[in-house]
Symmetry: C2
Subunit: 130 residues, 2 copies
DNA sequence: CTTGACCCTCCAGTGACTGGAAGCCCTATG
DNA sequence: CATAGGGCTTCCAGTCACTGGAGGGTCAAG
């Protein structure tokens, strides 16, 4: 398969796939014309990466996950630990965003949104007081 | 005030304050020795920026907000629109993260986390099937 | 006069791509 | 056989909002 094929099948942009090769996540073969030639195993890895990235794992996490995936002697505890740490970060971020949302939502609702200049949003930003 | 003072009072790192000057958000004076000299109005702006950033506004949004803040003829609708658009983005991101969290949480719970290699997290990443 | 805490500028790196330029390769058509 | 298009290649630069560090000037206290 050429890069266009795997891009379509994996759902990843060709640019991203080249980038993943650059940073050593995949190692496709090369045809004599210089084109990358992808085996099924490469496609498989890319799909794996796509799903891991969609769950918000960092590239370095993905590298580790791939290594664990390919190591048949892994302990599932290692995978679970990684996933749990990541889950904790996500939950943290959700809390942060929710707090932003709550404040912002309150401000938005308290603003008339007409053509007068008075604006509680700006007042709040200026003073830190509601 | 020198940069250290405003850093402490605004809660922003000195590096960040220099960066904000670089990109034209603030324009502190200079002493003869080359040190930045901050007026109260600069400190005020920095505090404003700190609060806007804490609400997740981008730097460009902050630039606009500052301009609106300093424009006494602004329409509060302009501020509200900006804030509402930002709120929508935050809510979007929360939904994305919650979806990640749900999937991930399910996977984590289904993984034994012992020293055996069997791991539903990896199986899911590999196949996209639970 | 020295020490230590400030301050300065400039450069490079972060994460994970993304866009674009310049140019080679392959296939199909006139 | 020439050409047009689409796909492939590499390399460089830009994104966002800082952050770290090198290398060096300035200031107040002892």
């Amino acid at each position: 398969m050429n890069i266009g094929d795997v891009a379509q099948r994996s759902g990843l942009p060709a640019k991203t796939i080249r980038y993943y090769e650059d940073i050593g996540l995949i190692k496709p073969m090369r045809d004599t014309n210089g084109y990358r030639r992808f085996r099924d195993s490469d496609l498989h890895k890319l799909a794996f990466l796509g799903r891991a990235r969609a769950l918000g794992f960092t590239i370095e996490d993905c590298r580790t996950l791939l290594a664990l995936y390919e190591d048949n002697t892994r302990a599932s505890a290692d995978v679970k630990d990684l996933a749990q740490a990541h889950l904790a970060k996500i939950e943290d971020k959700i809390l942060q965003l929710q707090s932003m949302r709550d404040t912002l939502s309150e401000l938005v609702h308290s603003c008339a949104g007409d053509n007068r200049p008075d604006c509680p949003i700006l007042s709040d930003l200026a003073t830190g007081q509601h």
